[in-house]
Symmetry: none
Subunit: 221 residues, 2 copies
Amino acid sequence: MRVLVAEDHERLARAVAAGLRRYGMAVDVALDGDSALARLGASRYDVVVLDRDLPGVHGDEICRSLAAERSESRVLMLTAASSVQDRVEGLGLGADDYLAKPFDFSEMVARVQALGRRPGAPRPELLGYRDLTVDAEKGLADRAGRRLALSPKEFAVLECLLVAEGRPVSAEELLDRVWDEATDPFTTTVKATINRLRVKLGDPQLIDTVRERGYRIGGQR
Amino acid sequence: MRVLVAEDHERLARAVAAGLRRYGMAVDVALDGDSALARLGASRYDVVVLDRDLPGVHGDEICRSLAAERSESRVLMLTAASSVQDRVEGLGLGADDYLAKPFDFSEMVARVQALGRRPGAPRPELLGYRDLTVDAEKGLADRAGRRLALSPKEFAVLECLLVAEGRPVSAEELLDRVWDEATDPFTTTVKATINRLRVKLGDPQLIDTVRERGYRIGGQR
DNA sequence: CACAGTTGTGACCTGGCTGTGACCGGCGAC
DNA sequence: GTCGCCGGTCACAGCCAGGTCACAACTGTG
């Protein structure tokens, strides 16, 4: 899941980013409104954690413009004041959820996760293929009844492949969905991660290679 | 929104139907597999609430045939067993969502609504001829139920021929569509690729040669 | 601090893909 | 007939996408 944290207090921004990364999310940070908009224009985010009082372009403004272009990104608005009035205003602007500072860290993470899960269709929370099952929410993966110990990246890649339901997913697409934007487009890390994932998944192979098109789950009947 | 409830326990079927009608949906009921298929043939439904264990034609069968004819109807599969295995199998068959009995009524309604809202999420683009089927999106090709292992070029050529629907496609056109533009116009590689493709497709021949004009899909006739 | 787990990198290997050219066979033109 | 052309078949060789592996940087943890 890709997240943009737009927050001008650098310490807070870094802390939030670090917290989200520990849950396997790919996080970018913007310290002011203009760079937030630039990031949003340049790449796709599932969730934007948006400080309302942002220098440069104001948080409200960003929220409005996201709503206007019917962006797929969900917005979690952060605010200093906790008045009900604020809350109402925020949601009116098109934010999808609202959190008053100071906030509890785990609550913030939970809400970001919930927002990321929400897009469009009710993705059945349980993913699977053959004897493999993945509970994206709980972060658990089993194969043939045995629990797999997957790293965050491995897990995220596997989730992507399962969501694609057999459509091949290119390395670029994986980079886009699992890694954050600071990633070198020529990196070989996807290759390595797929390799490690394959080893952990065991036999018989579940991840096919489709030459020049990417990787896909299943395939051989 | 039009909904078909295919469920053999009459009491349950009526209850479900009544519940959905309270949310303004137009609901028909089928108590066995055959009448479900008849209904589906006779009119269009946005969502099918489908019991997996259906007398007559089995729920799995119905699901498969809906997927095969690229129906616009979304399927919410109901099942007695709640094993993960079942869940996974159902989704594999082309169901769009899955619910284990006993289920919470309001959850069922919510899921049906969600499915109805998701406007015909693009069904797989399936190409085919006779006993050959090609899923261009997933990069899969089968003949007579057997998976074919095609190279990228072979696959692309086959796709071109299928899209042309029997119209002959010249080597020049294939070069243009499948190869990149820096390709020597006098190359013999098309010849070779068609040859390899024919071998992999097996008998009876599916690719005709039209002298001077190119290749076309369609065995003798 | 040591230690373990995760991730990215670069070097190396390999198997399959692909283009080529040589050769063959059939068919139509003459 | 037979010549010429179009297309089929085949073996071969180079190449490159992708697999594998070891290692190093980094991080969190006790």
